[in-house]
């Protein structure tokens, strides 16, 4: 015990909670940001809900399962919001030029990452859960009817979002704030090849190989199997999980490498807008 009543025990969870509290304070301090979290998922769901109603009577594809597009749009938002939620919390530190303060405390980089991941989960839930509930009210479609596989789909996409987010944050650490737009744009590169709204078989043959290297593709194909044929493809889930772990390890490697590089360049005190 020290002079200021400091505990000599590890306190790792305490530091993770401290950082999480910081991001929650930030979220609470700006209601437009909270509204923005809800706005896009809800708007997307409303648009695709009407589209589903139209296609239900005009398309055999949607007729087979009304929720196929609505479930896809909500699950895609898990991936997108998972990545963005992590990146935004990271960017908050860059905008505030706060890295210099943080890294003279006992906060370990992995503890910071744990708080970024936790905040990403919170942001996803704030964005997606109200949209999912509204879909029940507006279109009588509940994504929760997917049952337990929904938890697996959610987890795979969230972890993939984290992996992308860590890699993007690493690039921003390396390249500076000029690379900030990557946080908003990068994930959309994966949208066409993740087979979100259409089967992977629609893609050109060569592109299908790329698509099957992404965990997200297994989720959306698995979702359609479940909705159309009532079959849960455990093999898809296991492959997606394995790919997720590889992506997460790669994302974390890029992030920690960039952080070390920032320490070598002396960028932690200077980095910011």
């Amino acid at each position: 015990m020290s002079r200021a009543g400091r505990l000599d025990t590890g306190g790792s969870l305490g530091r993770i909670w401290a950082m999480l509290l910081r991001y929650l304070y930030l979220l609470r301090s700006s209601w437009p940001r909270t509204v923005e979290l809800l706005y896009w998922p809800t708007l997307q769901m409303v648009v695709w809900g009407f589209m589903s109603q139209f296609l239900y009577v005009n398309s055999n594809y949607v007729f087979r399962a009304f929720g196929v597009l609505l479930a896809a749009v909500m699950l895609w938002d898990v991936l997108f919001r998972g990545q963005l939620g992590l990146s935004i919390s990271f960017l908050e530190e860059m905008w505030a030029r706060n890295l210099g303060h943080l890294f003279v405390t006992p906060l370990r980089p992995y503890e910071w990452v744990a708080s970024l991941l936790s905040m990403s989960l919170i942001r996803v839930l704030i964005g997606v859960v109200p949209a999912a509930l509204l879909a029940i009210a507006l279109y009588h479609y509940s994504i929760f009817s997917l049952g337990l596989p929904l938890i697996a789909f959610f987890a795979v996409l969230l972890v993939m979002g984290w992996a992308l987010g860590l890699a993007i944050c690493g690039l921003i650490l390396r390249q500076g704030m000029g690379a900030e737009s990557l946080a908003w744009l990068a994930v959309f590169t994966l949208s066409p090849i993740s087979a979100v709204y259409y089967p992977v078989s629609i893609l050109p043959h060569w592109l299908q190989h790329v698509a099957w290297a992404l965990p997200s593709t297994y989720v959306f194909e698995g979702m359609r199997e479940l909705l159309f044929h009532k079959v849960f493809r455990a093999d898809y889930l296991l492959t997606a999980g394995a790919l997720d772990m590889m992506l997460l390890a790669l994302g974390a490697w890029i992030f920690f490498l960039a952080l070390r590089n920032a320490r070598e360049r002396g960028a932690l005190l200077q980095m910011g807008e």
Partner: protein, 250 residues
């Protein structure tokens, strides 16, 4: 326990196009206030950043409070702290929220009591619930000091602690730091451009130029050695003297 709060040996920091710190060696005794002086680009901030673990050196040995900070920085970070007027606390959170978060990062118990005590000592109670970005320069400096003193550090590193403050506020900050140091017997290493401040507060001065320590001693000893009237004249003499005439000292 090591007698030195800081012991640096043969410290080098090279970037691709420049050498910021060039084979610096020095010690800072525990319980003293030491100044790191030098012109812009002399290597002061680089040296402070290395001592804080924010910057990795190219080579050298850095012991802080008896711990090799390059290998075991997490063993010592909770016993030291840092303040700079050039690195504000996050603007959007209130002062209290910022301090609570840092108190948690330092694993303090009795956080609210500690913040209340610091608020009284540093006279920041009136704006604890104001966003940190809406404070004046003097208020920001006092809040930054509150953050830096949260964990009652044994070693406090300060980067120009009174920069951009009016004379009255600057004097208040200096008096506060002197009283705090006397009470806690902590070690302070401060980079400064204010020679009167250094003469008043510091028992030892490290003079840096082009990445090297070119002289050291108490302010009075330096003034006498160079035959000048005050430390400002010593500083100007050293900064303007051609490099080959200055020999690095350990």
């Amino acid at each position: 326990m090591s007698a030195a709060a800081i012991k640096v040996e043969h410290l080098v920091k090279r970037y691709s196009t420049a050498t910021a710190v060039d084979g610096v060696s020095f010690t800072v005794a525990r319980g003293t206030i030491t100044a790191l002086l030098g012109g812009n680009g002399a290597g002061k901030t680089t040296t402070l950043s290395i001592l804080l673990g924010l910057l990795l050196p190219t080579s050298g040995i850095v012991n802080v409070l008896g711990v090799d900070i390059l290998r075991h920085r997490y063993r010592v970070l909770s016993r030291m702290n840092f303040s700079s007027p050039f690195v504000d606390l996050p603007h959007r959170l209130t002062v209290r929220q910022n301090l609570l978060i840092y108190a948690r990062l330092y694993a303090l118990r009795n956080r609210r009591e500690r913040i209340a005590a610091l608020a009284e000592d540093l006279q920041i109670g009136a704006f604890l619930d104001r966003p940190a970005g809406k404070l004046s320069a003097g208020q920001k400096t006092r809040v930054a000091l509150a953050k830096a003193l949260l964990n009652e550090p044994e070693l406090l590193l300060l980067d120009e602690p009174t920069a951009s403050l009016d004379p009255d506020t600057g004097d208040w900050v200096r008096s506060f730091l002197e009283a705090w140091q006397t009470r806690t017997r902590a070690t302070i290493l401060m980079a400064s451009h204010n020679m009167a401040e250094v003469e008043r507060m510091c028992s030892d001065v490290l003079m840096m130029k082009t990445g090297k320590i070119v002289d050291r001693g108490s302010p009075q000893a330096l003034i006498e050695r160079y035959g000048r009237a005050n430390l400002e004249e010593v500083f100007l003499h050293i900064v303007r003297k051609p490099d080959p005439e200055l020999e690095p000292v350990s």
